[in-house]
Amino acid sequence: MIFSLNLSFSDLLLLLPEIFLTCWLCVVLIVDFVSPRLPKEQLAYLSVAGLAITLGCLAWFDVNHISGALFGNMFVLDRMAIFFKVFILGATILVILSSVEYVNRFTLFRGEYYVLVVMSALGMMFMASANDLLSVFVSLEFSTLGFYVLVSYLRDDLASNEAGLKFFILGVFAAGLFAYGISLVYGETGQLVFSEMSSAQATPGLIIGFLLIFAALGFKIGAVPFHSWIPDTYHGAPTPVTAFLSIAPKGAALVILLRIFLVALASFKPVWVYLLVAVSIVSMTYGNIVAIAQRNIKRLLAYSGIAQIGNVLIGLAAGTKMGSDAILFYLLAYLFANLGAFAVVIAVSQAIGKDEIEDYRGLNRRSPFLAFAMLLFLLSLAGVPPLAGFIGKLYIFVAAIKEGLYTLITVGLINIVISLYYYLIVVKQMYINEPIDPSPIRISSPMKTVIYVGLAGTLVIGIYPQPFTDWVVEATLMFSNFVTPSATAIPSTIHVGS
């Protein structure tokens, strides 16, 4: 393997979003350091500005079809990487906006909070581009590092500390598995780049290696049986961090899963399909059934997240281009619904100070807007038309039925009904039960923005999905004929413009 380090200017162009964001990160840190009197909201808006400029830059890449690979294929910028970077940046912006008010709860290091969030986002952006097991590992750990701190940011809160510790121990364990898996795979194939592994033979070492890697990534996305950290961590972490954790790392880990299963392991599809079917069935069923018994809204969303990942894995199990389209589309729908739901949770907990489902009693009387927003977000998560989640689920089912995964679809359909039950329990509290304390709830304007964006996304994607399906279909063009491994090779030259 040869690493060429003589980067030209046009090479650097591919890294421009990351380079820019790193610089901006330093600027935010310096501004916080230089003027400690500056209201922390300003830092939030400063970070959002940087993220938005990066987003604009990526949009320009996407429109102009800029793509290419760097460092001997370790870093690729293809349409899918751009999609996921946009996804992560969008999630980060919404998370930062929804934490503007929440940050006042932290006793110390309020400015550093934003820096850590953006840093994790940066790590995940690298993950979206990682095309090599080593760069995956490095960027994965880079992004997780920020999360370890963020999860235990409520220093005086026991639950937050517990969450941080749990997340840390299991996260480090997963990292160990990942590193071990990499070493096994490298030992068997002599390759680290995904696209060059496709001709590998199925030796026991390779199988164990990939199983270990899958376990580590399964930990990131929170699929059963690697989910045990999810409920406690989600419950204890500061709610904006939970929101961030519930969406961005899942997206970043899924892009790697897509690259591994559809590129590196494309020829082993008949084998891994069983693994994914099993994990998917167990995740959906376990997540949904345990969610029924939850009393805390964050834990409910945690378990529903486990179930949602089960749904996403249906698309991965389909293992086709359409399956990956469906995953991307589903993630978009999930982004708006899930972040929106968490934004409502944050808004309510700002007013009430608690986040038990019982506290949502009569929310409709206290704040019709919040209740309505929560209703739509939960129904979108459940997959009720005309919301985005419904189209996402249908897209995944259509992709899977084309591959004949009938069992999986049957389980998925049954799970829609189960999930409807516990989402409706929350709806019942909000709409049917009368409030104990009918005082109205005030919502801050950044929070309102987040909820409006969530609502707009949920409704627009649900009612007019065509532009979004077009986008995801183009983003996954690299998988269009993945069965022949050579077709997935990434061009080593850079194409600027189309």
Binding site: V384, V398, T410, V417, I425, V427, Y431, N433, Q466, T469
Partner: protein
């Protein structure tokens, strides 16, 4: 209007709901005005649709096709045939009437009308969808508004209200309350309804997905699928694929109809729902089941339909008899009407099962007729509940002194429900009975028995509510006096009787939709096309005005006289 009439009918209520979001609850008149206005636009457009539909040309008319998703092969493909047209009309009439019936709702008026409009629009959407995806889309979309309408504005049963202990309250809020079949709360009813309907809807969705996959056409378009889908004779699991799909689709959609073993959500739901919701629910929502079976199973799998439709013929007997007997013994006004609806829906299944021109047309006309009759009954049960805050028949009585107009209308509604000549129900019933006799004589006898049962329980309820000694507790109850209160009843009565006397256009429209279906399913070409085929109803026609006149006149006659008259008939 012209070709965009379907979009107008479908989107007027949606637009109304959207507009209502921006109106404050402090302006109740404006809220009601917007709701009524959008429903009125929809109603006018659907009346236009009904009369502009050309039965001679037949087939799907007023087609709109808007591409929606290329990747999935979905387009917003709207169009109505002779089966959809009257049902669209029924939906808009009931929506318009329902808005006036719920005129006095004080609590969260705006939200109520938003969900009511969305519910109605979703229902209308199913009746005009020519795309399997959108059929399911609108179908599933109609379920959630039901949950909120039942939960927020619904009412508990007497038994539930007596359970006031804290332990019971705690139990009902707990996870286990779904399994707590003893409770009859509105929350229970709403949750049961949603879970039942969603559970069966995903069964139907599985069928739809199988159609999508095995047709291999990469489209959900019903018109394409019915021409080109090759689903026959693919062996799966020891039987053939078409049978599996048919069973999935049939039972998936029959649950909302509701066919006998899957009916239990329906009366509970009716009972808990506010009046306008019950009207839409019993009036049109239940017809989504029959309609979707006709649209999906009959259109796409005609040969399998011929083979498997006897299932419906068997189950419909249980529907009719079981519903009828429960209604007879029920003590709650809305339970009586709810079970009577589920019993009457058995007739529609009988008409569908017999698979001939007369019976299937009868089934479609019955759907329309039943919408009016049951709409009236629920509107009046709602009125009585609003006045007395009870639905318990034994504790009521003698209300005709207090509400002569309501009790007069109630008699008309009972007559319509029974299928009295002069109402459109009669035409429908006689067509179902005559059409099915050759094929299913046993079921026809059961249906006749069902009619007798209907008479028994409706008159029993009428006597319990309006006659006999009056409970002085309800001395404050008053009649529907204002135009707003009377309008919905008068609309439904006039539609029911109007089409009972002049059924020609309705019949022609329905026949034009039924004929091509029957040709496809039974491969028997009709002997008599529309002009001649109108024989049975026109033969009935002349005798009707004589019977009808006293019923109309009954509105002004003193009520006690009329009852004895009515019972003896």
């Amino acid at each position: 209007m012209g070709e965009y009439v379907l979009l107008c009918i479908l989107f007027a209520p949606f637009a109304g709901a959207l507009g209502l979001i921006f109106v404050s609850n402090r302006q109740p008149l404006l809220v009601r005005g917007i709701a009524a206005g959008s429903a009125f636009i929809s109603l006018i457009a659907s009346i236009y649709l009904f009369y502009a539909y050309d039965p001679v040309k037949g087939g799907f008319q007023f087609i709109q096709k808007i591409e929606w998703s290329r990747q999935l092969g979905i387009s917003l493909h709207l169009g109505v045939d002779g089966i959809g047209t009257p049902l669209v009309l029924a939906s808009t009439i009931l929506l318009f009437a329902g808005i006036f019936v719920s005129w006095h709702i004080k609590d969260r008026t705006k939200e109520f009308y938003i969900w009511l409009l969305i519910l109605a629009a979703a229902t209308i959407g199913v009746f005009m969808s020519l795309d399997l995806f959108f059929l399911y889309f609108f179908y599933e979309m109609s379920v959630i508004p039901m949950y909120l309408l039942l939960g927020m504005w619904g009412s508990h049963t007497k038994k539930y209200l007596e359970m006031t202990d804290t332990e019971g309250m705690k139990l009902r809020d707990s996870v286990g309350f779904i399994f707590n079949f003893g409770s009859n709360s509105k929350e229970y009813a709403a949750m049961k309804l949603v879970l039942f309907l969603s559970a069966f809807a995903v069964v139907a969705l599985m069928g739809i997905l199988l159609i999508y996959k095995y047709s291999g056409l990469n489209t959900f378009d019903i018109l394409v699928l019915r021409e080109h889908a090759q689903l026959m004779n693919i062996p799966v699991l020891g039987t053939t694929l078409d049978k599996i799909i048919w069973i999935l689709v049939f039972f998936g959609f029959a649950s909302i109809a509701p066919l006998w073993p899957m009916h239990s959500w329906s009366p509970v739901g009716h009972a808990a729902a506010p009046a306008a919701t019950s009207m839409l629910h019993a009036g049109v929502l239940m017809k989504l089941g029959h309609f979707s079976i006709i649209r999906v199973a009959f259109e796409i799998l005609p040969e399998t339909t011929r083979e498997l439709m006897p299932i419906a013929a068997v189950l419909c007997m249980f529907s009719i008899i079981y519903g009828g007997f429960v209604a007879f013994y029920a003590k709650d006004t809305k339970y009586v009407i709810g079970y009577s609806s589920s019993s009457h829906m058995g007739y529609v299944f009988l008409g569908m099962a017999a698979l001939n021109y007369i019976s299937l047309s009868g089934a479609v006309i019955y759907m329309f007729a039943h919408a009016m009759a049951t709409g009236m009954l629920f509107a009046m049960a709602g009125w009585v509940y609003d006045q007395t805050h009870t639905r318990d028949i034994p504790s009521l009585g003698g209300l005709s002194n207090k509400m002569p107009f309501i009790s007069a209308c109630f008699i008309v509604a009972c007559m319509a429900s029974i299928g009295m000549p002069g109402t459109v129900n009669f035409i429908a019933e006689i067509m179902i009975v005559v059409g099915s006799w050759n094929k299913y004589p046993l079921q026809v006898i059961v249906a006749m028995l069902g009619i007798v049962l209907t008479l028994a329980y409706l008159f029993k309820m009428m006597r319990g509510l309006f006659y006999g000694p009056m409970n002085q507790k309800y001395g404050h109850a008053h009649d529907a006096i204002s135009t707003v209160d009377r309008l919905p009843l008068l609309i439904m009565i006039s539609v029911s009787i109007g089409f009972g006397i002049f059924p020609m256009h309705l019949y022609d429209v329905v026949r034009s939709g039924v004929d091509p279906l029957i040709v496809k399913i039974t491969e028997v070409v009709p002997v008599a096309r529309s002009g001649d085929g109108a024989g049975p109803p026109s033969a009935v026609g002349p005798s009707e005005p004589m019977v009808t006149t006293p019923v109309v006149a009954s509105e002004i006659l003193p009520t006690p006289v009329l009852t004895s008259h009515g019972v003896s008939e």
